[in-house]
């Protein structure tokens, strides 16, 4: 009997950990980036928007629509809305 796991249909995930003086935040299934600056990054996913603010933010893009944000993250906000 196989266990059924609850996987979001969009493939969205988010993980955050400490990295140096700041944090490293990884996100999956990012559709687009609507705002990009060292102080503020706004990501668009299937379910809504993710707003990350802080200082010295840097963004890396990976295959499979993965995104990694590194920097001194001070606040992460979520907004539910269809794209």
């Amino acid at each position: 009997m196989t266990e059924k796991r609850a996987v979001p249909p969009s493939g969205f995930f988010m993980n955050a950990e400490r990295a140096g003086r700041g944090m490293r935040m990884s996100l999956g299934a990012v559709v687009a980036v609507s705002e990009l600056s060292p102080e503020k990054i706004t990501l668009v996913s299937h379910g809504g928007r993710i707003r990350v603010s802080g200082t010295g933010l840097r963004l890396s893009v990976f295959e499979g629509r993965g995104v990694e944000i590194v920097g001194e993250i001070s606040e992460v906000g979520f907004a539910y809305a269809k794209n």
Partner: protein, 395 residues
């Protein structure tokens, strides 16, 4: 700082204005290109991904793109600089060639003094400048073990370009078999016996006996009442030996007076190859000494590198007779006397020394009378005639 794979396989840098940064990131997301957008809104991508990104961004946003950077870009930009590539190839060749040579031989065992072992290794082909490809470590270890009786095991390791030789000393508790079958132990000089220890044979003398040079101390012939027969006499005999040494310093002596010096040869030895820079072989009248100065390049003063400089200097001299003062005569005689005394008592324990001296017509004579304890036994072989059952002392 570009990534190491970017440096090797090449990369291009795209840069955009701040307002166009989201468009750049969205294009990277759509194309599935791995890239990091820096704070100055630039990103490094591989040349193949750069072409796709260029097509995607063309006409949509303003961007700038650099030419290919990294090693491929360097080669492309300098494709007509043949000297640069020749220099790089030469550098790589020298690096590879030097890494194939032995730069130093280091021995790990304090009981083996460097020079002898280094000479033995050098004869077997392991020396500074030898090629690693021509050295068979297993054969070298086997030959070194066979060539030396003092080594119980040997291990030759290569770390980089340095050969590390580890040696194990053989612990020999038995006397070496030198082919002797029967022998006597006789006195090597006149002495009074202080102590006698017999391992095999029959003791002829006892402590307190006065013996002369050549007297038998331990006999290899066992008396009939003790069973008879012949053995190899072995043991240690400590005797009290009296001796005298003297030295005379004359009023005048010949001395060298150096008049000129001249460099007659300068050579460099690099990885076993000798290069002569200067060689002056013309003959000069008069007497001379040739002094050879060797200096080797080391790393931190410890690790020898295979670069050696040898300077030969010719010191011309004249011989002149010089008269000595009284102090000088005493000092010269004392120096010679000390040298003789140390030679005579090198393997002995000194009990007493009495030194005196006097001025004579020709100079100053100094003498020392000494008493020492030393091993005075010397083994002399004896040959036995089996037919007649009689022994004949050798010599």
């Amino acid at each position: 700082m570009p990534r190491i794979d970017g440096l090797i396989f090449g990369y291009t840098v795209f840069s955009v204005e701040e307002k166009d940064a989201p468009s750049l990131v969205n294009a990277l997301l759509r194309l599935g290109i791995n890239a990091s957008v820096k704070r100055d809104f630039t990103c490094e991508v591989r040349p193949r991904d750069g072409a796709r990104l260029r097509r995607e961004l063309r006409g949509k946003i303003d961007f700038t793109e650099t030419e290919i950077l990294g090693l491929p870009g360097f080669i492309y930009r300098n494709r007509h600089c043949y000297g640069t590539f020749l220099g790089i190839l030469l550098g790589v060749f020298i690096f590879v060639w030097c890494s194939g040579a032995v730069w130093d031989v280091r021995i790990f065992d304090e009981s083996f003094y460097g020079e002898e072992t280094l000479c033995a290794l050098s004869e077997l082909g392991l020396y500074s400048g030898a090629r690693w490809g021509q050295i068979d470590k297993d054969a070298l270890e086997a030959e070194l073990l066979l060539s030396s009786d003092d080594i119980s095991w040997v291990n030759v390791n290569r770390r980089g370009t340095v050969a590390y030789v580890t040696l194990g000393k053989k612990n020999s508790f038995e006397k070496e078999d030198d082919g002797l079958t029967y022998s006597n132990v006789v006195a090597s000089e006149d002495a009074v016996i202080e102590e006698i220890n017999v391992r095999s044979g029959y003791a002829v003398v006892k402590a307190g006996d006065a013996v002369k040079k050549g007297d038998v101390l331990i006999s290899g012939i066992i008396p009939g009442e003790l069973g008879g027969g012949f053995v190899r006499a072995e043991g240690s005999i400590v005797g009290r030996v009296y001796g005298k040494v003297s030295a005379t310093a004359l009023e005048s002596r010949e001395e060298k007076v150096y008049v000129s010096s001249e460099n007659v040869g300068v050579s460099y030895k690099i990885l076993g190859f000798s290069i002569n820079i200067l060689k002056n072989s013309r003959n000069l009248d008069g007497m001379c000494d040739i002094i050879e100065y060797k200096s080797q390049l080391t790393l931190f003063g410890r690790y020898r590198l295979p670069l050696e400089r040898c300077v030969k200097t010719r010191l011309s001299y004249n011989v002149k007779e010089r008269s000595l003062g009284k102090d000088e005569m005493v000092k010269t005689a004392a120096g010679e006397l000390l040298e003789q005394f140390l030679n005579k008592t090198a393997d002995a324990e000194v009990i007493s020394v009495r030194t005196d001296g006097a001025f004579t017509d020709g100079g100053y004579t100094m003498y020392s009378e000494y008493t020492v304890l030393k091993n005075i036994g010397r083994e002399i072989p004896i040959s036995v005639s089996e037919e007649k059952e009689r022994f004949v002392p050798d010599g």
